[in-house]
């Protein structure tokens, strides 16, 4: 097949669109960055793409709570053709396509009700809110992949070091029932852990006090994947805070960053299946 087309949404304070596009380019996809208003205005049709991406940033400055104003826009505002964007997204998913949301993008996905969507009614069931530390923090953490979650994004990954950079990443679930469903269906695909992969709740290994130590989530199809840490900020070995020592200790270490694997995975998955 031709190259996989990946659409990266920007505008309104989203600010990680370029590194996200680079991630897909490095993974061999065709990455295009488009302003959300160009989708609403009908210049861009999301159905022309295989992957829809919501990058990190500070949409509307996190006013009214992170991701809130932009998710309201995506969920409720009508596009120029009279359809709702949300309806377009549902059609996109029915076609078996993929959605990735990182950090602020993950916040949009949960606030729109796209994740985890246990009820199937596209209603908000979890939230991401102010860190227990009360602070925005930029630090590298580790996440453990839930081997029983089947999303193609995480194929072949076990423990992943990545930076988190957020003030509102604390995962809270609406009630015990939903929490149990998340666990039962193995939707909590990424958990904060120590360097060896032991899942822990201790700060700062769990940087925000997230319930279930949850760093990332999928829906039950595995088509929608959202996470707080930034894989697009670890495309190169030289993004890692300890790269200089790692090169000394492992002279043959790859110059590729571990975060790139997520993008390679999904692009390869789509290539294989289309």
């Amino acid at each position: 097949m031709k190259k996989v087309r990946s659409l990266i949404i920007t505008g309104f304070g989203i600010n990680c669109e370029e590194e996200m596009a680079s991630a897909y380019q490095l993974a061999g996809a065709d990455a295009e960055i488009h302003h959300l208003n160009d989708i609403f205005g009908g210049r861009i049709n999301i159905q022309d793409y295989f992957i829809l991406n919501f990058p990190g940033g500070f949409a509307f400055g996190d006013d009214l709570g992170s991701g809130k104003v932009l998710s309201n826009k995506m969920k409720f505002k009508k596009m120029s053709n009279g359809n709702s964007f949300f309806a377009e997204i549902r059609k996109f998913l029915r076609d078996g396509k993929f959605i990735l949301g990182i950090c602020n993008g993950f916040q949009f996905l949960v606030k729109m009700g796209l994740l985890p969507n246990i009820s199937g009614k596209w209603q908000q069931e979890v939230t991401l809110t102010r860190n227990d530390s009360g602070k925005f923090e930029d630090r590298w953490i580790h996440c453990k992949v839930n081997s029983q979650n089947r999303t193609p994004f995480l194929d072949g990954i076990d423990v992943l070091p990545l930076p988190v950079r957020h003030g509102e990443g604390k995962f809270i679930v609406k009630n015990e029932k939903i929490k149990n469903e998340i666990l039962k269906k193995k939707l909590n695909c990424l958990s904060y852990c120590d360097a060896k992969g032991n899942i822990v709740a201790e700060y700062p290994l769990n940087p925000n006090g997230a319930e279930l130590n949850c760093a990332g989530l999928t829906d039950k199809t595995g088509q929608i994947f959202g996470l707080m840490p930034h894989p697009e900020a670890f495309l190169s070995l030289y993004n890692h805070p300890d790269w200089a020592r790692l090169k000394r200790v492992f002279p043959q270490i790859s110059e590729k960053g571990a975060g790139l694997k997520i993008f390679n995975n999904i692009v390869e998955h789509i290539m294989r299946n289309n």
Partner: protein
């Protein structure tokens, strides 16, 4: 009709903010608040039906996982005995209110006006304890708000909040005329009354301009009387302000050096030292066939060439006075304002790559009684830090580099240096991106935020004009989201070739931006009624000089206006065509057809009389202290590591996003535990290759007390050596690798006055010497200034007390890195690696952190020996080319002992040093002297021979990395330091908490 919506956290949700308020109230003010409950109130002035209101509240505002929502009734529970409301004063930026308006339109599919404020947000705090009026006022003014921007209500909660910060102005949009044919005394009074800040000579220059017959004749034709308008005087005052015209750096200075007996007349510090050094370097570069120095001292920022595809644009500014009165607002407007400098350079629309912020504060544990209007240093620190966090993080610009310096003399005015670098393609649509070209007939387009009374006459706004509905104008809060949209739009417009060029609207507003651009074409005509306002009834002159933030002025070809307007609409950025550029030599400002100003451009820009100042240098006398032989070096090192100027900045650094964009290669903290402090930041510029930029800063005001020349030279050297430390290569006229400096002077008032500033001549002499050092260092190393800034009045006055900053110079430096993969970090890499000191230590403990521990200043200032430094740096480059250096850390505050500790911190290694090789010096000097141009380097043992061949006498083997987890230092067969690294790491990590 007003509707009120309140959002309250559910009981089972941790109220993180409330807990922090409770903790801070106890820690900082010893106030026991009991449990604190926080909530948000939105006052909605749009006319909405009940179902609309409910839909908006429940879908638009509430996060149903965590909130309860109350509509037109407020949560009221007798458990909470007192309350505090923090609302904004009229006219203060309320982004949350604006965002709520936008979401209201989206959810209800309405087309309400969201450009002016109709939803006002405020914060309500409920306290369990019955707090006294005094305690509530303390919390209001010193913890949760600032009376310059907030309205407070507090006491026992009745469940009703009525306050609305609507702006209402009753004045008319009129122009008044001012009689200048008055006595000198009256001229000065006029300057004072109108807050023009012009001196008598300047007022007289203006007076005689309006008496010129050619001027009278021209004005007559324009139907203007001979008397100037209020707008004209305001424009002249703004254009001639110290901020814009740098009158002291342009002054003629009679300099007398009583140490040597020589006298000299310096015709402008800027021309003589700063500009001249760069011109000399430029000539050398041109001679060698180099073409990377593209733009110096013009436009908003300097420009250098990275390679054939891209240019680097960068600027460092200060925002000291605003940060002194409103630390958060001052810092955030400083960052955002400085971002607009590289953004508005040349055509504009560059991509911003990084921020760098250097801060000078008084110690956070400051104990002296505060003067009226003086904020506590801890509060300034927290507020400024928060402003930098929001300014950078919310704009998606990584804050990659910085420095914090503590000295009690910054308790009146903190120094807040904000720097930003950006990258532009070398051309946009076939036009050189860094050039500004404007022709007669090009349109003036204002883009971004709207205009209010913000920043008009700064903090001196007359109290007589203020009532409860007057917009506050003294301080401003930046809106990163407004600016982010503007920046994205500008980049897109530049790429599409829709703008000819652009500039920032910062200090001086439209008056400044249009006034400066009009110099290129030779004139401009402006229609102020076309400028969109935040609220009605601003006077024309107010519209013209307002400093409302997040605005740019764009220059647009008439043929492109429609396309630009369409793009702006799609990007939700407001733009307005407000006039056009001309070539008739006049700045012509009108409001609805009525002329408000008609000024000769030549007089406007060159008419300001030159200042004449006097500087006298007398060498101060200092003495070295004496010490007993029996010092406990374990204790000294422990104290040094925990001292304010040395300890870890991690708590600050972690709150800045320093890696958004994914291009930060050397971050502020690196190594196995990501704790080891680094010397310079390194960024790559794209994902296609490994070309990068190193960013450093040199600043050491403490040495200025002993010797201002050596202080300035030392700061310059520090900036260079940090770049060498990470693997940079020295400037070389034969290579096309750019280096660039921004010089940034922040000094106390240096204009002599027998009463108010009796030591002004000495202060000015220090400034002269700082400039001389700049010239000597720049020309010696071939590092050009590409831009700079001076801030001349860093004094805080209350009654008879004056707190002046020590003369401070910051050199912010950048250099191209050929391959970021070959840069070097400061953390030790492996056990058994050898540790060397590179460069020589001298008995130079003057103003050291070591002396500071004992309250001593000393006399022996560290001197820069630039010829030696260059040799050392060249050897470092040679060693790097052969990949010999495993870690490198520059030696500065605290000397060699501290540098070694810092390289070991955050690793799992210990260190053993044997210092007897350095025995011609005292142990104090060996360990703690802060001599310049030195490094701590570690290498793999196998490279010992070749390494020592390169460095010869310039390196001293001082020890070895081991796996012991201890630091042991031996000197003359004695163990002088024996400590666990863990304890050093701990005290270093907790120094700011």
């Amino acid at each position: 009709m007003r509707n009120q919506i309140q959002l309250l956290l559910k009981n089972e949700i941790k109220d993180v903010l409330g807990e922090k308020v409770q903790q801070d109230a106890a820690d900082f003010f010893q106030i026991d608040t009991g449990k604190v409950k926080t909530s948000k109130i939105y006052n909605v002035l749009f006319d909405l039906s009940q179902p609309e209101l409910e839909r908006f509240a429940n879908l638009g505002l509430k996060d149903e996982m965590i909130h309860h929502v109350y509509i037109n009734e407020l949560f009221h529970d007798p458990f909470f005995q007192t309350f505090l409301l923090v609302a904004k004063l009229p006219g203060v930026t309320d982004d949350e209110g604006i965002s709520a308006q936008k979401t209201l339109n989206d959810i209800l599919e309405l087309q309400l006006d969201v450009k002016t404020q109709h939803i006002y947000s405020n914060d309500l705090f409920l306290f369990e304890k019955a707090l006294s009026h005094k305690n509530l006022q303390t919390l209001a003014e010193n913890l949760l708000g600032n009376k310059l921007i907030h309205h407070f209500e507090f006491g026992e909660f009745t469940g009703i909040i009525d306050y609305l910060p609507e702006v209402k102005i009753s004045s008319k949009e009129m122009v008044s005329f001012i009689d200048l044919n008055v006595s000198d005394k009256e001229l000065l009074e006029l300057s004072k009354r109108m807050l023009l800040s012009l001196n008598l000579e300047e007022m007289k220059a203006i007076q005689s301009y309006f008496l010129r017959s050619d001027v009278i004749q021209k004005r007559h034709k324009m139907e203007l009387p001979t008397k100037p308008t209020d707008c004209e005087l305001e424009v002249l005052a703004q254009t001639w302000s110290e901020h814009c015209k740098h009158k002291e750096f342009a002054a003629t200075i009679h300099y007398e050096d009583r140490e040597t007996g020589e006298t000299e007349t310096i015709n402008s510090l800027f021309q003589t030292y700063i500009r001249k050094s760069t011109e000399i370097i430029k000539k050398r570069l041109e001679k060698a066939g180099n073409d990377w120095l593209l733009k110096i001292f013009s436009d908003n920022a300097g420009v250098v060439k990275i390679d054939d595809n891209s240019v680097f644009v960068w600027k460092v500014e200060t925002h000291n006075s605003p940060s002194a009165i409103d630390p958060y607002g001052g810092a955030i407007t400083g960052i955002l304002g400085n971002n607009r400098d590289p953004l508005g350079t040349g055509i504009g629309g560059g991509k911003l790559l990084f921020n760098t912020d250097v801060l000078c504060f008084a110690p956070p544990n400051f104990k002296k009684k505060l003067l009226p209007g003086q904020l506590h240093p801890r509060r300034i620190f927290n507020g400024v830090r928060h402003g930098i966090e929001d300014g950078g993080n919310k704009s998606g610009i990584p804050t990659v580099n910085g420095s914090i310096i503590f000295d009690e003399r910054y308790s009146g005015k903190p120094l807040v240096y904000c720097g930003t670098g950006g990258v532009m393609p070398i051309q946009f649509n076939g036009k050189n991106s860094w050039e500004k070209k404007i022709e007669n007939g090009n349109l003036i387009v204002m883009a971004g935020g709207r205009v209010g009374k913000d920043g008009i006459h700064g903090a001196t706004f007359s109290s007589a004009e203020i009532d409860e509905h007057s917009p506050q104008s003294a301080v401003q809060i930046g809106s990163p989201i407004t600016q982010k949209l503007l920046a994205d739009f500008l980049q897109e417009a530049a790429e599409k070739g829709l703008i000819k060029c652009s500039t920032d609207n910062g200090a001086g507003g439209l008056s400044s931006s249009i006034g400066e651009l009009a110099e290129i074409s030779g004139g401009a005509i402006v229609h102020l009624e076309k400028v969109p306002l935040k609220y009605p009834h601003l006077k024309p002159w107010e519209i013209f000089v307002s400093e409302s933030q997040e605005r740019m002025t764009l220059v647009v070809k008439k043929a492109n206006l429609i396309a630009l307007q369409k793009l702006a609409k799609r990007r939700e950025v407001e733009i307005s065509s407000i006039g056009e550029f001309t070539d008739n030599g006049f700045l012509d400002v009108q409001f609805a057809g009525k002329r408000c100003a008609y000024l000769d451009m030549e007089f406007l820009h060159d008419g300001v009389p030159k200042k004449i100042m006097k500087a006298v240098w007398e060498k101060p006398q200092f003495k070295e202290p004496s010490f007993s032989k029996k010092l406990d070096y374990n204790e000294i090192l422990f104290k040094l590591m925990g001292s304010l100027n040395i300890c870890s900045r991690e708590s600050v650094i972690r709150q800045y996003d320093h890696e958004v964009k994914g291009k930060t290669i050397i971050k502020p903290l690196m190594g196995e535990k990501a704790k080891t402090p680094q010397d310079a930041a390194v960024m790559r510029i794209n994902f296609q290759n490994y070309i990068g930029i190193a960013i450093s800063n040199g600043i050491c005001p403490k040495f200025g007390d002993l010797d201002p020349y050596q202080m300035s030279a030392g700061a310059f050297d520090e900036a260079i050596r940090q770049i060498i430390a990470v693997g940079g290569k020295l400037p070389d006229p034969n290579s096309n690798r750019f280096w660039s400096v921004n010089d940034n002077f922040c000094v106390p008032d240096s204009a002599y006055d027998p009463v108010s500033n009796p030591d002004g001549k000495l202060k000015l002499a220090k400034l002269v010497q700082m400039n001389q050092a700049l010239f000597d260092m720049a020309t010696f190393f071939n590092i050009p200034m590409t831009s700079g800034k001076d801030s001349m009045k860093n004094d805080f006055k209350a009654g008879n007390v004056k707190i002046s900053v020590p003369p401070t110079i910051l050199y912010s430096m950048t250099a191209k890195i050929d391959d970021v993969r070959r840069t070097i970090t400061s953390d030790f890499k492996a056990a058994n690696d050898l540790i060397y000191q590179i460069g020589k230590t001298y008995d130079e403990l003057g103003a050291s952190e070591f002396y500071n521990l004992f309250g001593e200043l000393g006399a022996n200032v560290p001197k820069v020996r630039k010829e030696n430094a260059k040799v050392i740096y060249q050897k470092m480059m040679l060693a790097n080319e052969q990949n010999l250096i495993e870690s490198c850390h520059d030696i500065s505050d605290g000397g060699m002992a501290v540098a070694v500790c810092e390289s070991a911190i955050g690793t799992n290694f210990g260190v053993e040093l044997e210092l007897s090789e350095l025995q011609n010096l005292s142990l104090n000097a060996i360990l703690f002297s802060e001599s310049h141009s030195r490094f701590i380097v570690s290498i793999d043992q196998k490279n010992k021979k070749i390494f020592e061949q390169i460095f010869a006498d310039d390196c001293t083997l001082i020890g070895k990395i081991n796996s012991s987890k201890n630091l042991q230092i031996h000197f003359q067969k004695k163990k002088v330091i024996d400590m666990e690294m863990r304890e050093l790491e701990q005290v270093w990590s907790n120094g700011l908490s």
